[in-house]
Symmetry: C2
Subunit: 183 residues, 2 copies
Amino acid sequence: MNTRDKIILIGDTLIRKRGYNAFSFSDISKELNIKNASIHYHFPTKTTLVIAVIQKHLMLLEKFKQNVTDENAIQKIIKFLSVYTIAKSEGKISVLGSLANDYFTFEPEVQTELKILTDNTLNWLTHTLKEGKRDGIFQYKMTDRNKALMIITNILGAEQLSRVTYQHDFHKIKENVIDDLTK
Amino acid sequence: MNTRDKIILIGDTLIRKRGYNAFSFSDISKELNIKNASIHYHFPTKTTLVIAVIQKHLMLLEKFKQNVTDENAIQKIIKFLSVYTIAKSEGKISVLGSLANDYFTFEPEVQTELKILTDNTLNWLTHTLKEGKRDGIFQYKMTDRNKALMIITNILGAEQLSRVTYQHDFHKIKENVIDDLTK
DNA sequence: ATTTGCCTACCTACTAGTAGGTATATATAT
DNA sequence: ATATATATACCTACTAGTAGGTAGGCAAAT
């Protein structure tokens, strides 16, 4: 892996473990054993780095969508949630959750990119729920987008809350989300 | 109001609007038109300030509990959720949500206080749900604590997500939580 | 006379970011 | 093949500004 990609990877981890405003370029440079100025060679500002991190996740989301296109709705949802579970087991919350928290401290460009990632995620979830309902796998009364909102907020909230309470709470919430959908 | 309480109030607002790691003592001193060092007179460290903020919310929670003791479960839940709605309309998320995000950047004492606030909130919610179920007002299959977890994560997640999407999403999620409980 | 609540004036450590230099590799022109 | 130019990826050394925090002084209230 080249240095640029390593910086993105470490930045991503720091954002999701500690938060955007709780890490500095020197955290990254120390881990890579290069100098602070060298990080600025690859990313002139912290803003350009966080945008690169968001764009990596936009790419990963597209890949994920393609990987699960042939599966049924319930399998899609289970795999979607397992992405958050795996990250959680490594002490990381989602970029979406972490950066949403710091939303008002960002420059407009970052806010725009984050909006795109959020909309993409929410749209995929909405569409997948609709598909599952059409196929008689899922039951719920509210609109598809509202159900998507309920599920995504359960996950984002669970990531946060289980930092304070117990890791186990995250898994309980995830199980409840799936049980509730399939009844 | 004395200066100490003003500092707590401004600190509280900054934490909930921008996050713990995105504000400094000078943000507070500028707003109060006093010097940076004077903040340190009241709160020797940033840690002591955030603890005072959490403890204020512990007090407010106790007051809230007392205020609603005579109401029925559904009214209790509605009033509980409206606390978050009012804050949201002022651009503030809950202390719980904001500080949970920065959990790993805190000293142990802060983590302990935050755990207490979280447990108190969760316990009250669990107890109120149980009460409503006993009285035939609420219907749900999972355990009381699990239901409490689902509701609180919906709210915490909604606070975050609606920063990125639309203010309106927060209200939709809140309505869904109440509708789902009462069916 | 002591406490309260602020002040001036400072400190150290760190932040993001810049200027300018260098070794190495690669591409191009002679 | 050799000289030259260019790009890459780092470096040292620096800047201006901010972070949290401290020492000691002073006026007013208790």
